[in-house]
């Protein structure tokens, strides 16, 4: 369980994270979404005690990270896959981590095997590791202490399709084992496949904290209606417009309806006796929901006005 209470981080006059209050529950994968610069990495760094919050607190199992004596048994984290000394082998990197927390050396071999790094790859110096190998090493590091809480910042960056699938399965498995899995990504499709719960932030503020299905359903998706009866279609369009929906012709026998739902359009068609050949949700995706949620934050971030960042 990760608990954020009014978590705030200001750098000078810029507020990177703004009074974030969220509970990240065990037993499921919680996706952490936000546009670039939304404060995702800063939030994760504060959870790990690397950055000091300006206000509020971040707790893991009720305790602040800086108070943990053997933190690798409590939290495993992958922050930056490139954070390995260029001349140090991956194995030595993990061994040093293990020793610091009194983890037996054989556990290093176990996690290396888990992430699919063989002896040769583990012996290579950090500078020669590919981004994908770095990610695997970072995930191995996170698993060292077999912790109940795991955090991954952009874990599939640089992985090949096989690796992406493997990370997805690993996240699911870790959550099924009852662990708290908190993972940030900018890949919407990846999130849609992996996450149960979503935490969305923009400009440091909480925009959504809900099950993923709810977030997607909340997007103003369109409904596509196709009918061989032009008159019936016109009547349907009128009634929908009267009900506040926006109706646009998408073809000679097709309408695109926004501001309504598949259920409502279907019910109305039944009521009017209009024969339908197609009734489908259109464009309902996490990507769309995300764009809508973060539209304001992105808009502001893109304006280079000098007044943009001051409040």
């Amino acid at each position: 369980m990760i608990t954020l209470r009014g978590l705030t981080k200001r750098f000078g006059r810029t507020t990177a994270v703004d009074a974030l209050t969220v509970d990240i529950a065990p037993g499921r994968v919680t996706g952490f979404l936000g546009p670039n610069g939304a404060g995702k990495s800063t939030t994760m760094r504060m959870i790990l005690g690397l950055d000091r919050p300006t206000a509020g607190e971040a707790l893991i199992g009720g305790r602040a990270y800086r108070d943990l004596r053997h933190p690798l048994f409590e939290v495993g984290a992958l922050l930056d896959a490139k954070a390995i000394h260029p001349a140090r082998s991956g194995r030595a990197h993990l061994l040093a981590m293990a020793r610091s927390n009194g983890i037996p050396a054989r556990r290093v071999d176990e996690v290396l095997a888990t992430v699919g790094l063989d002896d040769r790859a583990a012996a290579k110096p950090g500078r020669t590791l590919s981004l994908g190998m770095g990610q695997r090493l970072g995930i191995a590091a996170a698993l060292l202490g077999d912790p109940p809480v795991l955090m991954f910042d952009e874990p599939v960056n640089g992985l090949d399709p096989d690796g992406v699938r493997w990370v997805r399965q690993l996240m699911r498995l870790l959550a099924e084992q009852g662990r708290t899995v908190f993972v940030s990504s900018h890949l919407m499709t990846e999130m849609q496949l992996t996450a149960d719960q979503l935490v969305v932030i923009g400009r440091g503020r909480l925009l959504a904290d809900a099950p993923i299905a709810e977030v997607i359903a909340g997007s103003a998706a369109a409904v596509r209606v196709r009918s061989p009866q032009p008159d019936g279609l016109a009547t349907l369009a009128d009634r929908l417009t009267a009900a506040g929906a926006i109706v646009e012709p998408a073809g000679p026998d097709e309408l695109t309806v926004t501001g309504s739902t598949v259920d409502r359009v279907g019910d109305l068609a039944y009521e009017l006796g209009v024969r339908l050949h197609e009734l489908s949700p259109h464009g309902a995706s996490l990507e769309r929901a995300f764009m809508e949620l973060t539209a304001d934050s992105v808009e502001y971030a893109g304006v280079p006005s000098p007044a943009g960042e001051t409040r």
Partner: protein, 265 residues
């Protein structure tokens, strides 16, 4: 995923584990070995050079006069003026390389207590530089002795005392560099500050030979360490020189710890 649950092993968990981690990190990068090799070469070269100077300066063959015989130990001590930079580079690298490579975040993730991390680094730095100082002293003695020839003397007890003093000096200067590196984060900046503190500032203060300025210079770590190694009785006893230098090292550690705690990693 393995089903085995891992628990801290009682043997190495705690501070010993943190020291073991730092030890592993130090010896798993090749630059450590290069730094030590550089220190050996610089010691050999400097001790040899100083010995040649000492031998050449002595031209008085009249045995009734003071023939200007120097101890080999004093040559080794003199060579530290230069050699110390190769050794304190080790203390610097232990911490500044963590900032350059970003591994400081991993280190603090493993051990959130900044004070314990820095203390473990200090233990490892001292544990390496002290015995290494003995090795350097041995190298310096082996080079300076033959070069000095008849102009040198090497009483066993005195030489041993000199070599131990050199080791203590190098260990403390290494820890001083470590603390400063933690506070300043940049190796280059730290090195500039160290060269200024150990050499440039006290030398400038001593230049006009004004008593007050000389006294101030005596408070600087390099000068204090020099008085300690030379076994001086003036302006203060050698033991006070050691304490002064140790005080500087501790102050640097305290400064480094404060910086690590206050600043975001």
């Amino acid at each position: 995923m393995t089903a085995t649950r891992i628990r801290p092993t009682t043997r190495s968990a705690g501070f010993g584990g943190i020291v073991a981690a730092e030890w592993t990190k130090l010896w798993s990068v090749r630059s450590t070995w290069w730094t030590l090799l550089a220190a050996v070469l610089v010691t050999a070269a400097t001790a040899g050079q100083l010995a040649i100077y000492a031998a050449n300066a002595n031209t008085n063959d009249d045995p009734a006069d003071d023939r200007g015989i120097v101890t080999v130990g004093s040559i080794v001590i003199g060579s530290m003026e230069l050699t110390q930079y190769a050794v304190l580079a080790l203390g610097l690298l232990v911490v500044t390389s963590e900032f350059t490579s970003g591994t400081i975040r991993t280190t603090l993730q493993c051990t959130p207590s900044r004070g314990r991390v820095l203390l473990a680094k200090a233990v490892v730095t001292a544990a390496v530089t002290f015995p290494f100082g003995l090795l350097l002293g041995g190298v310096g003695t082996l080079v300076a002795g033959p070069v000095l020839g008849e102009w040198g003397s090497a009483p066993v007890a005195g030489t041993l005392r000199d070599l131990l003093a050199v080791s203590a000096y190098l260990a403390l200067v290494g820890v001083l560099a470590l603390g400063l590196g933690a506070a300043l984060r940049s190796a280059v900046l730290s090195l500039i500050v160290l060269v200024a503190t150990l050499m440039i500032v006290p030398l400038s203060l001593q230049e006009p030979d004004i008593t007050l300025l000389n006294r101030i210079a005596d408070g600087f770590p390099g000068v204090a360490g020099g008085h300690f190694m030379a076994g001086d009785t003036e302006p203060y006893r050698a033991a006070w020189g050691l304490l002064l230098l140790a005080g500087w090292a501790v102050a640097a550690l305290v400064l480094g710890r404060a910086a690590l705690r206050r600043r975001d990693a």
